[in-house]
């Protein structure tokens, strides 16, 4: 996104549904509940939606299935599948489509019933041909390989990884919407069942049901809605590889580039950001993204997260809803980074509300550290 698009679109509604276990509901029913919740939040009806931005894990044409389910005939449909980052990516395309007049009301939406339907990640991804013979456990093996290299190069420890999980739980404990709210100590993370060394099951995101949605309109009419508008100040993407075996440097993600461009587009820097919402599929993600987005230097992410520094009361509020590690993770989490960032800016976060939030960062990750998309959102004061 270039500066031309800075602040041109705003989120005027957020909604979610089916967090945790949504027994008896299909993925499309959860998707629809989330869509209706976001539209209700914006004071809009379904028939106002003329731009649909959607992907799901259920089908090869999920956006079309969603449009049919919702009974709408969108004149702009975007379903680019970049994994869990897709929804942050749609902030760019939705802003472009709104600004160009290709649609007037953009709905970004997702839903999944993976937990109650299957109990594990549902994916139509096929194993990459040059990796499949070694039977990697998708996607965790990939993140384990990255974590192991980070530990080797920078001395990052399992204790530091565990601190990421403990911090996320700390936020979740204050958030009534979060799925996992029980106590969690560093020792419990370390002694939990190992899945792929160095990652234990507590280094992994949840497997839940859930859906999320946001509604965007052009900035010029954003003040006419019930909730304070949240402006898209900058958003940018970069894709570096698809298979983990093709990752150019196992300790550096394309968040470095997506972050630089998003910050440049928004005209702000990491130190200006009040709350940070990162796609924490695994504990190593948080460390990698804090480094690559410029909140600390490469290799210092482990130290940065130590001892509650990103937990409630720490130096930087990170994943204030509890993240994918403790709040919700229905296969793809990206939409929830946007929702929590927007609610923190509006001042109606479901858990701990940080005081005077004007700038929030939402970062999406897709695939196996593959697609990185960074968005900077701001209050009216930041325009």
């Amino acid at each position: 996104m270039t500066n031309q698009l800075r602040g041109k679109a705003a989120i005027v509604g957020t909604g979610h549904a089916g967090f945790g276990e949504a027994h008896g509901l299909t993925a499309y029913e959860i998707m629809a509940q989330a869509a209706l919740a976001a539209l209700g939040d914006a004071g809009l009806k379904l028939n106002a939606v003329d731009g649909l931005f959607c992907t799901m894990m259920e089908d090869s044409m999920p956006a079309l299935m969603a449009a049919e389910y919702l009974g709408i005939r969108p004149r702009f449909v975007e379903g680019t599948m970049t994994g869990g980052s897709s929804f942050v990516n749609y902030l760019t395309s939705a802003t472009m489509a709104l600004e160009a007049g290709l649609c007037d009301v953009a709905l970004i939406v997702y839903g999944s019933n993976q937990r109650t339907a299957s109990g594990k990640l549902v994916t139509v991804s096929r194993p990459p041909p040059y990796e499949a013979p070694y039977n990697p456990r998708y996607p965790i093996s990939a993140y384990a390989l990255a974590a192991a290299r980070h530990m080797h190069e920078f001395g990052t420890t399992r204790e530091q990884l565990a601190d990421v999980a403990v911090a996320a739980r700390g936020w979740a404990q204050q958030n009534p919407e979060a799925f996992e709210r029980g106590p969690l100590t560093q020792e419990q993370v370390l002694s939990a069942r190992m899945v792929c060394d160095p990652l234990s099951v507590r280094d992994c995101c949840l497997v839940t049901d859930g859906g999320g949605a946001v509604v965007l309109v052009r900035a010029e009419r954003a003040k006419d809605f019930p909730k304070p508008p949240v402006y898209v100040l900058g958003s940018a993407a970069e894709s570096a590889h698809r298979q983990i075996s093709q990752m150019p440097d196992f300790t550096v993600t394309a968040a470095r580039e997506s972050g630089q461009r998003a910050f440049a587009a928004a005209g702000v820097k990491p130190a200006d950001i009040d709350v940070v919402e990162l796609y924490d599929a695994f504990t190593i993600n948080t460390i990698l993204f804090l480094e690559d987005l410029g909140f600390c230097k490469k290799g210092e992410g482990g130290t940065f997260v130590e001892g509650g520094r990103i937990a409630p009361g720490g130096v930087l509020p990170v994943n204030t809803n509890g993240g994918g590690l403790s709040c919700v993770h229905p296969g793809m989490y990206g939409i929830f980074t946007i929702i929590e960032a927007a609610r923190q800016i509006r001042g109606d976060a479901p858990g701990l509300q940080i005081k005077d939030v004007n700038l929030a960062l939402a970062h999406g990750n897709g695939g196996v550290l593959t697609s990185q998309v960074t968005a900077i959102l701001g209050s009216a004061a930041t325009l």
């Binding site: 040059y130 990796e131 499949a132 390989l145 290299r149 080797h152």
Partner: protein, 125 residues
């Protein structure tokens, strides 16, 4: 070896013959993996195929934990060959937990998932 328009088949045929052969770009002189029609380094399209030495180093590694009744724990690693390419592999002849980053290994053609595949063993001496 001559340039081929079928890089995937070329590599797999090599494996089937018990050889690890990789494309080296005639333009930039770099090897790449996985084999493809366009050099990922410089986008040139002419390659010569060379057998690799097999000398390599473990770049990163993990132990996939699995119940003994399902076959037990196993290793997945990234091996960096001295030709400058990395590929996914598995170290044989060593407990999966004993595979360490920086370990010097020999890559060879073995069997994985019922087909010929690049495996590694600790280098001798």
């Amino acid at each position: 070896m001559e340039t081929t328009g079928h890089p995937d088949k070329m590599f797999r045929n090599g494996l089937a013959e018990g050889r690890i052969i990789l494309p080296k770009c005639r333009s930039c002189g770099k090897f790449h993996f996985f084999p493809r029609l366009v050099c990922p380094h410089c986008h040139a399209m002419e390659f010569a195929w060379h057998p690799v030495s097999g000398r390599g180093e473990i770049h990163t590694t993990t132990v996939v934990r699995q119940k003994p009744e399902h076959g037990g724990d196993y290793n997945i690693c990234m091996v960096e060959l001295e030709e400058g390419v990395r590929m996914m592999s598995r170290v044989e002849g060593l407990a999966p937990q004993e595979v360490k980053i920086g370990m010097v290994v020999t890559a060879y053609v073995g069997e994985a998932a019922g087909g010929a595949a690049v495996l590694c063993k600790p280098a001798e001496g």
